[in-house]
Amino acid sequence: MALIYNRNTRRLRLTSLAVVLLLATSRQTFPRGSNHVLFVSSSPADDNNMARKQRGATAHGSSKTADNGDGGHAEHFSLLLESSDDEAPEEVTFEDSKTQALRSMKDALDTVRREKEQLKEKRRRRQELFQEQKKRRLLPADVLEEIDSSSFAKKQKPSDDKAEEQQQEEDDEEEEERGKTQKKRSGKLAHARNLKGNYTVATVKERSSATFQQQVAQDFIQSRLYGPGSCRTTNNELLSLQNKKGRNQSAAVQFVKKDWEMAKKKTTTTTTTWFRIYGSNFIRDDKKFVSS
C-alpha cells in the first residue's frame, strides 16, 4: 500500500496495487526536487514478509495480476520506477491484490449506497414537512365533518351563500379597517353558518367550460396589449412628462407608495371652506368657461 502525495497538485493518491518499493529503506534516495513523496505504509520487516509471500505465490499470482488490468498498474509501476531502474520490481501476491481490489469495490459500492440513502432520507424529511404544513392549513377534522353534513342541506341556495360569504369577508375586512362604527349585514340567511374564525363555507357554483374559454380569450387580449414586448410605462411617468413639457413646468408626479391613493384617502378627506356670494367674492379661476 502506498500513498503518493503530489506536491504540485497537493493531492494524495492511493495506489491500489501494493507496489512497494524499498525506496525509503534502500540506499537510493529520491533526487532533490522531486514532486513525489512516497509514504510507505508497511515497515521494512513486513516488506520482507511480503516479498517472501510474493515470491511464494508468484506462479499463478503474477499471471493473474497480469490479466487483471495490469496496464494501469503497470503505468504506476513504471512511473514510480523512474528513480530506481536497476531495482527488481517488488512482487505482490495475488491474494493481496485481490483483496485490495475487492475492498475498493466494496468501498465504492458502500459510498454509492450511502449517498442514495442520504438522498432518500432527505426526500423523506421534505415530504414530512410538506404533509405537516398541509395539515396545518386544513381545518380540523371535526369542522370538516360539520361542513360536510351541512352542505347537503344547503344545496338549494349555493349562489346566495357564496355572495353571503363574499359579503361576510368584505364586511369583516371593513370592520377591521374601521374599528369605530359597527355595521351589521342585513338579511341573515337561514342557511349560512358562522364557523370558527371569519369563514362561511358554501357550495360554489360550478364553473362551466364557457368561463374557461372566456378566460383564455381575455388572457389573449391582455397578453397582446399588456404582455411582454408591449413597451408599457406607468401613469406616473406619463403625468410627469406632461408636467415637464407643460406650460407651467412643475415637478414629477411622484407616488410615494404604491397604495398612495388608499393612504391619502384615509387621512385627508374634506376641507371645509367658507365663501361668500353676494354678487362677488368668488375665488378666482383662470380656466376658460367652455371646457378645455
Binding site: 368584505e170 380569450a217 403625468l239 378627506t269 376641507t271 371645509t272 354678487g279 367674492n281 368657461f289
Partner: protein, 685 residues
C-alpha cells in the same frame, strides 16, 4: 346675500370604465358606447351629445362589439352570446348563444337581414334577423385561427375576416373562403410574434383596409387578393378602423393614443388619380384608442382613458363655431351621489356596491376662501355590496337617512338603517310589492314616508314605507303612453307634487294628494337634464341639454313671468356654449328667489330678483364685482352668479343647515388609476 360653508368632498372614488366598442346609427343620430364592465350607454348626437340612456352591465359580461340594425342594438361578448338590448326598458332583451366560444366581433349587412359574428373557434356564423329574435342560419367555412374582426362588403355578397397572420375573404352565398391575404409580421424582434389583424373594413370598390398589431394600415385589392399599399403608422398596435359614409376617409386608432386619417384624394390638384394618402393626425387621448366611429362631420374616438372625444372635421363644419369645437365627455351626465339633507349623509353609487358616508364637521367662521379646521372627520358608515351579478342602476337615500334603496336590472332592494349612538344597523325589508320589480329612477319623499320608483312605460310606482312590509299605494301613469324610460324624478318638499321627465323630452307633473296626473309641461325639443321644484313658490325649473332654462308654475299651469322674460332676452352666449349639462337643481329654503345648479365645471346660483345679463356684458363677473365698491356692485350685478373654484363636480347639494356639499373628483385621481400607457420616447425628456 349668501355665505356658505362648503364641504369639499373628495373621497368618492368614482372610477369610470374604459370604452371598448362603439357603434353609430346615422338615421337616429345615436351613438352606442360599450364599456369594459359591460355597460352600454346611448348618446344623442343631435341633442348636444347628451347621455340619454345607460344600460348597466353585469359581472363577467363583457361587450366586445356593438352593431345597430335599424333601430335595434345588438352586442356580443366573450361569454359567447349575442344580446339584443331593449332600449325602452334599459335591459338586455334576450341572449342567443352562438356556441362558437367567445365572440370577438359582430357585424350586420347593409340590408339589415343578416348578422355575422366571428368566434374564437374560427367560424363565422350567420344569423338571420327576424322581427322578435335572431336565428342561426349557417356557418361559413371554418378556419384554423380565431376570427378577430369582420366586415361586410356593402353589396352583402362578400365578407372580409381578419384573423391572426392573415385576412380571409368569404363568399357569403356559398360560405367558402375565396382569398387569403397574408399579413406581414413586424420587423426585427417582432418577427417571432404573430400579427393580429385587429380591424378590417371592406369598401365598395373591393378595397380592403386592415389595421394590425404590427402598426401597419394596409390597403388590399379584394378582387385579386394582393397588397396595394402599406402605411406604417405606429410602433404599437392599430386597434380600430372606421370609414366614413361616402368612403372617402378612413381613420385608424392606435395604442399610441393617436388617430390617423387617410383620405382618398389625388396628390396633385386637378388630376384624377386618387389614392389613399395619410392626412391628419389627432392626439386627443392619453391611452390606447380602442373604438372609433366616423360620422359625417366628426371623428368619435374612445379608449382606455375612458373619455369620449368628438372631433369635428374642419373641412365639413364651419370654423370657430360651436359645432367645430372639440368635445370631451369624461363624466356621466347623471348624478351618482345622493344626499340625505337632514341627516348630513352622502350615498355614493358604484356599479358593484354602495357607500354611505357621514360628513365631517368644522367650526368657526372665516373669510371667503378660507379653509376651516375639520373638527370631526367624515366617516364611512355602510359599505353595502349588491346581491347577484347585475350592476346597480340607480340608488337613493331618504332625507332623514333612515332608508336606503337601490335597483338593478333584476330587482329593487330596500333597507332600513337604524342609527344608535355609535352603531349603525342595516336591515333588509323583505316584503316589497310585486309592482316594484325594476326601477329606472328612485326617489324618497321628503318626510320619508313614501318611495317613488320610475318603472316601464314612463309610469311611477308609489310605495308606502314600512319596516316590515311595504305596500303599493298607487301607480301614476302619463296620458301620452310614451314607452321611453324616465330618467329624472323629483318630489317637492311639501310632498304635494311629483315631477318626472323621460327621454322623449316629456315632463309630467303629478298631484300626490289626489294621486293623479296634474299637468304636462309643453314639450321642448331638447331632453331635460335636471328638474327641480321650488319649495316655496312651487315652480318647476327645468334645464335642458341645449342649456335652456325654463320655469313652469304648477299652480297656474303656465310658464312664469321670469321664464318668459328670460326667453325673450335669450340666455347669454357663454352660458349656451357650455358643453356639460346641468346635473342637479336645488333650492335655498331661506331665499326662494335662488336657484342653485351645477355642471361638471361650475356652480351657479341664479337670483331671480336681479336683472338678467346682457349678451354684451361678461357672464363671469364675480371677480370684477369683488373689486368694485358696494354701490357700484348693485348696479352691475346680474342674475347668474357663477363660481368655478370646485372642479370636477359630480354633485352639489344644499343641506338644511345652509352648507353646501360639493363632491369633486379631480381628473388626476382618475388618470393615476388607469391601466398602463405605452412608453413613448420624446425628445429632451
Amino acid at each position: 346675500m349668501g355665505e356658505f360653508t362648503v364641504h369639499r368632498v373628495r373621497f368618492f372614488d368614482y372610477m369610470p370604465s374604459a370604452i371598448r366598442a362603439m357603434a353609430f346609427n346615422p338615421r337616429t343620430e345615436r351613438l352606442a358606447v360599450a364599456r369594459a364592465d359591460g355597460a352600454v350607454e346611448i348618446f344623442n348626437f343631435a341633442d348636444n351629445y347628451f347621455q340619454e340612456k345607460v344600460i348597466p352591465g353585469r359581472d363577467g359580461g363583457t361587450v366586445e362589439a356593438l352593431c345597430w340594425v335599424g333601430p335595434r342594438l345588438f352586442g356580443a361578448g366573450l361569454n359567447g352570446a349575442i344580446t339584443e338590448y331593449d332600449l325602452e326598458n334599459l335591459r338586455p332583451r334576450y341572449s342567443v348563444e352562438a356556441y362558437g366560444g367567445p365572440i370577438w366581433t359582430v357585424s350586420g349587412d347593409s340590408a339589415g337581414t343578416m348578422l355575422a359574428v366571428g368566434c374564437e373557434d374560427g367560424t363565422v356564423k350567420m344569423f338571420e334577423i327576424l322581427d322578435e329574435t335572431i336565428r342561426f342560419q349557417r356557418n361559413l367555412e371554418r378556419q384554423k385561427g380565431r376570427i378577430i374582426s369582420l366586415s361586410w362588403h356593402p353589396s352583402g355578397a362578400l365578407i372580409a375576416a381578419g384573423m391572426i397572420d392573415m385576412i380571409r375573404i368569404f363568399d357569403a352565398e356559398t360560405g367558402r373562403a375565396t382569398h387569403r391575404l397574408l399579413v406581414e409580421r413586424g420587423a426585427g424582434a417582432s418577427k417571432s410574434r404573430e400579427v393580429v389583424v385587429w380591424s378590417v373594413v371592406f369598401l365598395s370598390d373591393h378595397t380592403i383596409v386592415s389595421g394590425d398589431s404590427a402598426g401597419k394600415v394596409q390597403f388590399w385589392d379584394g378582387h385579386t387578393g394582393t397588397l396595394v399599399r402599406t402605411h406604417l403608422v405606429t410602433k404599437w398596435d392599430v386597434l380600430a378602423l372606421a370609414v366614413s359614409q361616402d368612403e372617402s376617409s378612413v381613420v385608424a386608432g392606435t395604442s399610441e393614443s393617436i388617430v390617423v386619417q387617410f383620405q382618398f384624394i389625388s396628390s396633385t390638384v386637378g388630376r384624377q388619380d386618387n389614392e389613399w394618402v395619410r392626412t391628419r393626425t389627432f392626439k386627443n387621448h392619453s391611452h390606447d384608442v380602442r373604438a372609433l366611429v366616423h360620422t359625417e362631420t366628426a371623428v368619435v374616438s374612445g379608449g382606455m382613458d375612458t373619455q369620449l372625444v368628438v372631433r369635428p372635421l374642419l373641412d365639413k363644419v364651419e370654423k370657430n363655431t360651436q359645432e367645430s369645437s372639440l368635445r370631451k365627455i369624461a363624466f356621466p351626465h347623471r348624478s351618482l351621489v345622493c344626499c340625505a339633507k337632514k341627516a348630513g349623509l352622502l350615498l355614493f353609487q358604484f356599479p358593484e356596491h354602495l357607500e354611505l358616508w357621514r360628513l365631517g364637521e368644522s367650526e368657526g367662521h372665516g373669510r371667503a376662501g378660507d379653509s376651516l379646521p375639520v373638527k370631526r372627520k367624515p366617516e364611512k358608515l355602510i359599505h353595502l355590496k349588491r346581491k347577484g351579478d347585475d350592476h346597480i342602476r340607480c340608488s337613493a337615500v331618504s332625507p332623514c337617512g333612515g332608508w336606503l334603496v337601490y335597483a338593478t336590472v333584476s330587482g329593487v332592494r330596500l333597507y332600513r338603517i337604524q342609527h344608535d349612538n355609535n352603531n349603525i344597523g342595516v336591515t333588509k325589508v323583505s316584503k316589497l310589492p310585486k309592482s316594484l320589480c325594476s326601477a329606472h329612477q328612485l326617489c324618497f319623499s321628503s318626510d320619508s314616508s313614501k318611495l317613488f320608483a320610475a318603472s316601464g312605460l314612463s309610469s311611477v310606482v308609489v310605495v308606502a314605507l314600512d319596516p316590515l312590509e311595504c305596500k303599493h299605494l298607487h301607480t301614476l301613469r302619463p296620458k301620452s303612453g310614451s314607452r321611453q324610460p324616465v330618467h329624472l324624478l323629483c318630489v317637492s318638499d311639501d310632498g304635494k307634487w311629483l315631477a318626472s321627465a323621460n327621454t322623449d323630452c316629456e315632463v309630467h307633473v303629478y298631484n300626490l294628494k289626489k294621486m293623479k296626473l296634474h299637468c304636462k309641461v309643453p314639450v321642448y325639443s331638447s331632453c331635460p337634464t335636471a328638474i327641480g321644484i321650488n319649495p316655496v313658490t312651487s315652480n318647476l325649473v327645468t334645464v335642458h341639454a341645449d342649456q335652456q332654462v325654463f320655469e313652469f308654475s304648477l299652480q297656474q299651469k303656465e310658464y312664469t313671468e321670469w321664464s318668459r322674460r328670460l326667453q325673450q332676452r335669450g340666455l347669454h352666449p357663454v352660458w349656451l356654449q357650455r358643453d356639460t349639462p346641468v346635473a342637479h337643481i336645488t333650492f335655498n329654503p331661506r331665499n326662494p328667489a335662488h336657484i342653485v345648479l351645477h355642471d361638471v365645471f361650475m356652480l351657479c346660483i341664479i337670483d331671480q330678483s336681479l336683472p338678467l345679463p346682457e349678451a354684451r356684458t361678461p357672464l363671469l363677473n364675480q371677480m370684477m364685482l369683488r373689486s368694485l365698491p358696494e354701490a357700484e356692485r348693485s348696479r352691475q350685478s346680474h342674475a347668474f352668479k357663477i363660481c368655478k373654484s370646485f372642479q370636477h363636480l359630480l354633485s352639489m347639494t344644499l343641506l338644511d343647515d345652509q352648507s353646501l356639499v360639493a363632491v369633486e373628483r379631480p381628473l388626476l385621481d382618475i388618470v393615476s388609476q388607469l391601466p398602463a400607457p405605452v412608453r413613448q420616447k420624446k425628445f429632451a425628456t
